[in-house]
């Protein structure tokens, strides 16, 4: 096991550095998919009308895309730390969402409902590592854009 190396080309750390509201948007996106999941689960064993669930999923996905774009436009950010944390968190949440998907399939969820739930899980599983990576990297010494990412 190696230890974490310090980022190259560091910018002096500044915890008050202005950042886009990535964490807040991540939480909003997660809240939308969780609401969609609750809405669908509340109708079981009948099929919930898909309209509201699809609307919530699309809104969550749009927020996720906005977040990715905001992140990509950051010029000074600890990208190494972000990639490290996001990568490991993604691995962990792949296991968690894999278990949830297993439960859905095991319980004979099929068709459009399974597709919707799977996309909700995907949005959820991308949001959490993104949030964790950002929350850690924002307090780390930044690299200037161009050196990484």
């Amino acid at each position: 096991m190696t230890t974490v190396s310090h980022d190259a080309t560091p910018v002096p750390p500044d915890v008050e550095r202005r950042m886009p509201p990535v964490a807040q948007i991540c939480v909003g996106s997660m809240a939308l998919v969780i609401a969609g999941g609750i809405y669908m689960a509340a109708h079981l064993p009948r099929r919930a009308p898909f309209g509201p669930a699809v609307g919530l999923l699309i809104a969550a996905a749009v927020l996720l895309v906005i977040n990715v774009i905001s992140l990509a436009r950051l010029r000074e950010f600890a990208w190494d730390t972000f990639r490290t944390v996001t990568g490991w968190a993604a691995l962990a949440y792949l296991v968690v969402t894999g278990m949830l998907e297993f439960v859905f399939v095991f319980d004979h969820t099929r068709g459009t409902m399974l597709v919707l739930l799977t996309f909700m899980l995907v949005v959820f599983a991308v949001n959490v590592p993104l949030l964790l990576g950002f929350s850690v990297a924002r307090y780390q010494p930044a690299e200037r854009s161009g050196s990484t990412a």
Binding site: M1, T2, T3, V4, S5, P13, V15, A23, C26, V27, M30, A31, I34, A35, G37, I38, A41, A42, H43, L44, P45, R46, D80, T81, R83, T84, V85, G87, W88, A92, V95, V96, M99, L100, F102, V103, F106, D107, V128, L131, L132, F134, S135, V136, R138, Y139, Q140
Partner: protein
């Protein structure tokens, strides 16, 4: 991917504050600590494998075991953290808080997600097994209420609590950790644990109602 399991940490608690914000040892070799305690991973893996077996078997006792044990521990830890450890931690010096965090937070990083996964996955399957998920179930409204409470708790835990936990651990690895930032993030961690703990009381009310 770089390895995040072992990081050097400044000797929190051993030295006096270098300044109000930057805390760290003037010269000592920083000790190492693991952000993810590797020794705990086989235990987590064993619990998850047992959970999958319990769900696949779809038998009442293993599902109840995982749901009740997981839920009890999750609730107990949340309440203890929010209402007992939290106030104590708030009165400790910043170096003492940092030393506590260095030893405590890595364990929470493994324990809490495992307990949450165990409780929710087994709970869902248990409800399905007992027919509680059906809209025909007389207490269906209570079941939906439990979904909402758990959903809010999940948002608080994943959106506020877990990021604060990780950010503290990474701050501690710096040669000069920012004590004020650690204090701020630890307060967020402890208060959100308290809020989810209080929400767990709502879960107690709902679950005992469903089981009655």
């Amino acid at each position: 991917m770089a390895d995040v399991t072992t990081v050097p940490v400044a000797g929190a608690g051993a030295e006096s504050l270098a300044s109000e914000h930057a805390v760290g040892p003037p010269s000592a070799e920083p000790p190492s600590f693991r952000i993810v305690p590797l020794a705990g991973l086989p235990i987590v893996a064993a619990v998850l494998v047992a959970l999958v077996i319990a769900i696949a078997s779809n038998r009442l006792w293993p599902l109840e075991f995982f749901h009740v044990v997981g839920g009890g521990l999750w609730t107990g830890i949340d309440l203890f953290l929010g209402f007992v450890i939290g106030p104590i931690l708030g009165r400790l010096s910043i170096p003492a808080r940092m030393e506590f965090s260095m030893r405590f937070m890595p364990k929470m990083l493994l324990i809490m997600p495992t307990l949450v996964t165990m409780t929710l996955a087994a709970g869902w399957q248990l409800a399905r097994h007992l027919g509680n998920l059906s809209t025909a179930y007389p207490n269906h409204g209570w079941v939906v209420a439990s979904f909402i409470v758990v959903g809010v708790m999940a948002i608080i835990a994943l959106g506020l609590l877990e990021p604060a936990n990780l950010a503290v651990l990474f701050e501690l690895r710096k040669p000069q950790p920012n004590g004020e930032l650690i204090g701020k993030l630890m307060r967020r961690f402890v208060y959100t644990a308290g809020i989810t703990g209080a929400m767990q009381i709502a879960t107690f009310v709902i679950m005992t109602k469903l089981a009655s």
